[in-house]
Symmetry: C2
Subunit: 264 residues, 2 copies
DNA sequence: GACCCTCCGTACGCTACCGGACGCGACGGC
DNA sequence: GCCGTCGCGTCCGGTAGCGTACGGAGGGTC
């Protein structure tokens, strides 16, 4: 069998190499230079450890987190213990929106799913910095809008798309944030995120492996053929990515403006 | 802690009797008297006609709508035409959030699902009235927070709960907004909302009818046993309702503070 | 080297729901 | 009163995913 290569690219500012730049988070990078400069002293480097709970359901939101290379999954949990990921917050986003929206407690559980870097900002400081008319406020508002649209898309996704497609989508999102072709992830973790059986993930992963787009061995995933993986995923990956691109200003568009590209 | 009371009493200001009061929308009712008074001249009565599209996907959001007795369903549509309801906006809410969040175009399609009354406010006026520090801004921010939480709950709901439970939940939400024990609704419409087959709805409705909690004949639904219907629905109804109660100040709590009541 | 634990491949019966279809009764137009 | 349409009850074969379980391979520990 093939041996997975752990580091495929360390050319520039690799996420795992020491200090990450604030601008690696695309939301922060979208701020005007002077705004970011003013914010920077309050942004504290924060390490995302795989599997750790960074935000507890029902607990106060004391920090908002801007991932630079890791990934935070927000989980909804039902009373019987079953759970599913509501949203994955990567380097295009920010975890802890309730702090901005006048809620003090988090309705969701946040788990840092794949190890990586991030910056965090205290909720109090966020409120102080999102002054009326500030670029940060406008940006976070647009991001909220995008997140709502993304949640709606995920709703349709979870209803209509098959495990294999959703699995591919999830791996793509992770790949985007991690920016390494290999990352650590068990089938069981992924199953928890997708809200399906572990065995279901194994089957889906097996099918994707057979097609040669990924490799998966004992807690490690390798993206072997990115384009193929995109083809195997559902449209939701593309739709949400375009929405988020619009939020950070790529294409200069609006969330809604992209809907026509869905092929309707 | 205060207890919320369901008002089924139609003695005065019945939804169907002529002019509805602005305060029948619970979001507007939560505003301080002077704020509401200032807003009132700009609130224009708007009639919700069953089945009409009030907000088109990808079109500019020119109005935000505050239902007083009707119900607006926000639909996500996939490129293959399949659709599912992302959220139902009743009299505890407001449709058109993107106008507030810096988006100009609507990512979702809004359909007024059950006929009823509403007030609408131009998007431009909303932006002018949601001044920093205003009660309206704070309220809409909290509402946004609640809507995100509700969307997350619906995500888990659509993943784990059966058609019959989701069907019961939908009827309860409708009942809350319509405040009449009988309303017009076809199985096919309901199927579109839930994202399932028409036949699937017929089966679920049949089961609920057999238990005597509802009656359904040719385009009409009657709630026969409200408590029984609540027992037949999934926990999501209660969870989302409590979240929305928190938004409008009932119980004075926070969205997250209610999560512990889920029985975890 | 012996052991154990984690992780994963696979298999089996089962259930909810799908897609499609047919027929019947209610209702409205003429 | 007749007929077309609409809404609904029901049925059937098909299937994606479930719950459960078992065994085997990788990797750490002593």
């Amino acid at each position: 069998m093939s041996v997975s290569v752990h580091i495929l690219d360390t050319s520039k500012s690799s996420p795992s190499s020491g200090r990450a730049a604030v601008s690696e988070n695309r939301l922060l990078a979208a701020l005007p230079a002077e705004d970011l400069k003013r914010l920077q002293p309050h942004l504290e480097p924060f390490s995302l450890v795989a599997g750790r709970v960074v935000m507890e359901e029902g607990e106060p939101v004391e920090w908002v987190i801007f991932p630079t290379s890791g990934l935070i999954s927000l989980l909804v949990r039902l009373s019987d213990g079953r759970a599913v990921e509501a949203s994955a917050i990567g380097r295009e986003g920010m975890a802890g929106l309730p702090a901005f929206l006048g809620g003090t407690l988090s309705p969701l559980q946040g788990i840092s799913q794949v190890k990586g870097g991030a910056f965090r900002l205290s909720a109090a400081r966020l409120r102080r910095e999102t002054l009326p008319g500030s670029a940060l406020r406008a940006l976070v508002e647009r991001y909220t809008n995008g997140l709502l649209a993304a949640a709606a898309q995920s709703l349709a996704c979870i209803r209509f798309h098959r495990v294999e497609e959703r699995c591919a989508r999830w791996l793509l999102v992770t790949h985007d944030s991690v920016r390494e072709n290999t990352f650590e992830l068990t089938h069981e973790f992924l199953a928890n995120m997708l809200g399906v059986r572990r065995a279901g993930v194994s089957e889906a992963v097996g099918a994707l492996s057979d097609r040669g787009v990924i490799r998966s061995v004992r807690g490690h995933f390798t993206i072997a053929n990115r384009a193929g993986l995109e083809a195997a995923s559902c449209e939701c990956y593309r739709v949400v990515r375009q929405e988020m691109d619009a939020v950070v200003g790529l294409g200069g568009g609006d969330v809604g403006s992209l809907l026509r590209q869905r092929g309707l």
